[in-house]
């Protein structure tokens, strides 16, 4: 089950509004399961700015390499060093310890355009 406290993109990223007006970004359980063992993440530097749907980095699993796209626009204020050092954390805990970046949003309203957990689950069903 995907947590209901956040929103989801069609690129299988999640975005979670935090109390400090930042947004935490990661990949979904579906994404990590589909990728298999993740061995390498390339993430942006703190201070970089991204537009919504812009490429934010790459995730390499044993099987494949995929682009990551930002679900929201804004400035990167933190990068999760835990997943850079231990990429398998994204497989183990994609929604909590396996977050990727923290963004200070420039267009907070973009969150309204993302899918709810229920919408995302319907979207996943349409893929199968």
């Amino acid at each position: 089950m995907n947590p209901t406290d956040r929103k989801y993109s069609r690129d299988h990223e999640w975005a979670k509004d935090e109390d400090d007006d930042t947004i935490l970004v990661g990949i979904t359980d579906y994404a990590q399961e589909h990728l298999g063992d993740i061995v390498f993440l390339e993430l942006p530097r703190v201070g970089a700015t991204l537009n919504q749907t812009e490429k934010l980095g790459e995730v390499e699993s044993v099987k494949s390499v995929s682009d990551l796209f930002s679900p929201v626009s804004g400035e990167i204020v933190a990068v999760n060093q835990v997943v850079v050092d231990s990429p398998e954390m994204v497989n183990e805990d994609p929604y909590e310890q396996g977050w990727l970046i923290r963004v200070k949003p420039s267009q907070p309203a973009e969150m309204d355009g993302l899918m709810t957990a229920a919408d995302y689950e319907s979207f996943l069903e349409s893929l199968d």
Binding site: H12, V65, E88
Partner: protein, 376 residues
Amino acid sequence: MTQQHESSLIQEESATLKQTALFQAHVSLGAQMVPFAGWEMPIQYEGILAEARAVRSAVGIFDVSHMGRVEITGSDAAQFIHRLVTADVLNMPFGRARYAFICNEAGGIIDDTIVYRLEQERFLLVPNAANADEVLAWLNLWKDRWATQVELRVLTYETALIALQGPQAEEILQAVCSVDLSAVRPFRCVEGQISGIPGIICRTGYTGENGFEIILPDEAASSIWLDFNERGATPCGLGARDVLRLEAGLLLHGSDIDSSVTPLEAGMERYVNWEQGEFIGLSALQESKRTGLSRTLVGFRLLERGVPRHGYTILNGQGPIGNVTSGTYSPTLDMGIGLGYVALEFSSPGTSIALDIRGRRVEAEVVTIPFYSRKR
């Protein structure tokens, strides 16, 4: 997240795929099935890295029934195979297995295979799945051309081929096997019973670990597979198999070698027997040895984080010098490793090279193959 570069393992759409005798067992054990060389095969169960680690530390089982199995019998069988492969078959005692190349007249590699001599006049050839039809056609072509007294029989569709690989492979197999396995040394093969079922037992493999490959009748395969699993063997898919074979420096036909390269370019001259007399491709290989190589297959390791993949460009300071043919993240070494062809001048171990990984320059170094050797 959008997938950019799917592993070369995933090749085709699921149109009319063949299934091995173990198909239901794979599904019941939760395998992810993918199309591979015309077959529906497990790419992974629990996860590629966990399966690879299980083989290095304990024992894994692999369904490799998609590979070809051609039995060659008759009074001319030894002479026939001898003239078609780079290994000495005539002087091979029975009960032995040898790795060899099947070359075309230009010395290009049609396939790499293991030749098993089960009896004086009975052999088994195990070609790669993707080449099984081509190899069979090649055998039939020369059988007719030479009017040779041999009989070819395809066992692929009536037998299963299971590999047990890892430090505990012998213990697991011995528990159900009628043959004293300590007497079956590496590259030996013998007929015997497994759980009372007659089969062929070979100490060969594709992982760099100690282990066996066994051939069983289709109808017995599933229960024996599940029994190995219950005895502690980890079911492994093609994903782990690819990681393990690459760590062990073993080549994959279709990726590292094909009919456009010779065994010499692939760095495999030790499997070419120059003294055995005429075989298909010999004169081309002799000519190539005389004139010298322009490129050769090398192993490399990445000095930074990243995963090399088939098709990436190999660079030096100035520009492109070759192409990656196989690459992976190595769980045993915790780094990116790969194989590729480079001009001869860049082939010495220690040479600094780099890879173009999707526009990113990643530093690497030529190293000796294998990347991993088990402790003996």
